[in-house]
């Protein structure tokens, strides 16, 4: 049993089951929407978790990449007539390229200095999106044309699907593939190298690992995850505002990683789920919503300091939370 749970593909398998069965118990498309948002956030968080949880590098600017993906999906079709799906690909490639160029100098920094540098990067991206309204629509946001999948399904197969259902499955599939790719990476020489860098950078270097290159690789990979998630959110919502790329969103993504559990792919999904669902539950407390959200964040982190998934795993294993 435990061997099964520890298998590399256990997490993607669990996610397949979850994504496939969840609609059976979700009563309305509102819940489908919530689930879809969880999948999309979780996708971005998995990428960030590769960077934070496995390579041990903090980024407070990942919403910048998220925003690049989102705005690529919005702007390229509208301004240049690029077909939506290509816009998504271009967004991901652009994100990778920017991550590569920015990452080279930035990743030499350590700890909090890296945090502030990535923070600066994220703010620059958000600022450009906010200011260059002639391309991006500025602070009021921009509409995103749909990919036309619904129409295609209808004309080609006579299938009629609701937007909410369609995107539930697209985002669910993305999440499963994203998790699968992530576990692949973790279980490869690259993944071992990254974890090694996290535990002892100096020993990793002596073992022949090109630490700078490894950090750059995972930074680029995580940027692509964020960009794809951004594109998905933009297309799903049909409308996007610069806050998507903002500092607070970056913080939210980092919080999801840490809350769910650094270095845990399943934790990424749990962290995303908590921060997407919690505000929906807290709405009944009106004015006390934020107070409670802050309180719960503190309580979670104090009692499950390794994150929810690793923390609970430790509890179940009977070793206590500490």
């Amino acid at each position: 049993m435990s061997a099964l749970l520890n298998h590399r593909l256990a997490v993607p398998a669990v996610l397949i089951v979850l994504v496939a069965l969840l609609p059976l118990v979700l009563p309305s498309s509102f819940y489908l929407r919530i689930a879809t948002l969880v999948w999309i956030s979780a996708f971005a968080v998995i990428g960030l978790n590769l960077l934070m949880g496995y390579a041990g590098q903090v980024s407070l600017g990942h919403a910048g990449f998220f925003g690049i993906g989102a705005y690529a999906a919005a702007v390229l079709p509208a301004q240049l007539g690029v077909p939506g799906i290509f816009a998504v690909v271009i967004g991901a490639v652009a994100s990778a390229l920017i991550a590569y160029l920015v990452g080279r100098p930035i990743l030499r920094l350590k700890g909090h200095y890296l945090a502030v540098a990535t923070l600066g990067f994220g703010i620059l991206v958000a600022m450009v999106i906010n200011n260059e309204a002639w391309i991006t629509g500025g602070p009021d946001g921009i509409a995103v044309a749909s990919l036309g999948i619904k129409k295609l399904l209808k004309s080609a197969f006579g299938l009629k699907v609701k937007t909410a259902e369609l995107w539930y499955w697209i985002a669910g599939a993305m999440l499963v593939v994203g998790a699968w790719v992530a576990v692949n990476l973790v279980d490869s020489p690259t993944g071992r190298a990254l974890r090694a860098v996290h535990d002892s950078e100096i020993a990793a270097r002596v073992a022949g690992i090109d630490v700078a290159r490894m950090k750059l690789v995972v930074f680029v990979v995580s940027a692509v995850y964020a960009a794809l998630a951004g594109s998905a959110l933009a297309l799903f919502n049909g409308f996007i505002t610069p806050d998507t790329a903002g500092f607070l969103h970056s913080i939210e993504l980092v919080t999801m990683v840490v809350l769910g559990g650094m270095g845990s792919i399943l934790g990424s999904v749990v962290g995303a789920a908590v921060l997407v669902v919690l505000p929906q539950l807290l709405t009944m407390f009106h004015d006390y919503e934020h107070l409670l959200l802050g309180l719960l964040m503190m309580v979670f982190m104090i009692f499950l300091r390794a994150g929810i998934v690793p923390g609970l795993r430790a509890l179940v294993a009977g070793r206590g939370a500490a």
């Binding site: 699968w180 790719v181 692949n184 990476l185 279980d187 490869s188 020489p189 690259t190 993944g191 071992r192 190298a193 974890r195 090694a196 996290h198 535990d199 002892s200 100096i202 020993a203 990793a204 270097r205 002596v206 073992a207 022949g208 690992i209 090109d210 630490v211 690789v217 990979v221 270095g263």
Partner: protein, 262 residues
């Protein structure tokens, strides 16, 4: 041509000359030890040779080629590996994975293949795993293969580090106090291991405080004091060198001298 040589090597920290004009040459297949009282600059010297620090002056030559200032990961690819005085273990990984990381320089690093788990990656993982297991058995840690390093005993970690260093298939292996903190039985095992490594043709450069071990195992010794060369030669010549005795007796007390030569 010596396999490893240093020429006039030196570095300063805030005006203090931690290593000052040190030169020596290590021949292929030898066990070469660097000894000296605490603070003599032995570990700093290792850090200079292995590329962790960049020397202020002097040269490091590996197989006759100048590798001064070359980063550790490039030196690893050129066949130089090392262990650390205070353990630098990947504590959150299993013993097997630690050694697998050591195999890094033999692995193909195609990230796309890794992301997509192409069959070649699975084959490579298998090969690496097999090689790592062999090494673990060789240092007597096969039983710990799937144990997370963080929960292994100290003596085992010392050997795990050696196994990881060996995984890189080095020509020259720098061992920084491999027996420090080990009990007599563990020290015995380390002793045997070093013998075996040397017998396999790997050049060993050793920093060690356990003089019994050093004297027994070394072909030649290099003695440092206050960052400078005090003496060099076989165990016998060094043992008789009056400067060495004075250094150990005079400035560092009789206890250490007794430990060294008793």
């Amino acid at each position: 041509m010596s396999i490893l040589s240093v020429e006039d090597l030196g570095i300063e920290f805030g005006g203090l000359k931690a290593v000052d004009n040190v030169s020596f040459a290590v021949e292929a297949g030898e066990v070469f030890s660097i000894i000296g009282p605490n603070g003599a600059g032995k570990t700093t010297l290792f850090n200079l040779i292995s590329g962790v620090y960049t020397p202020k002056h002097g040269k490091v030559l590996l197989e006759g080629r100048d590798v001064t200032g070359v980063g550790p990961h490039l030196l690893a690819r050129k066949g130089l590996s090392r262990t650390f005085q205070n353990l630098q273990i990947f504590f959150r990984m299993t013993a097997l994975e630690n050694v697998m990381v050591g195999c890094h320089r033999h692995e193909r690093m195609n990230v796309f293949a890794h992301l997509l788990a192409l069959p070649s990656v699975a084959r490579q993982n298998e090969a690496t795993r097999a090689a790592a297991l062999t090494l673990l058995s060789r240092v007597g840690l096969a039983a710990y293969a799937d144990t997370v390093a963080g929960s292994m005993p100290y003596g085992a970690l010392k050997r795990l580090e050696i196994a990881r260093a060996l995984a890189a298939d080095p020509k020259v292996l720098l061992l920084d106090e491999p027996a420090a903190g080990c009990n007599p039985v563990e020290t015995e095992e380390i002793d045997a291991l070093i013998h075996q490594i040397a017998a396999d043709g790997v050049t060993v450069v050793l920093v060690e405080h356990d003089m019994k071990l050093v004297m027994r195992i070394s072909d030649r010794l290099h003695v440092l004091d206050y960052g400078r060369t005090l003496a060099e030669g076989t165990a016998e010549t060094v043992r008789r060198n009056p400067d060495v005795i004075a250094a150990y007796l005079g400035s560092h007390g009789s206890k250490e001298a007794a430990r060294a030569f008793g």
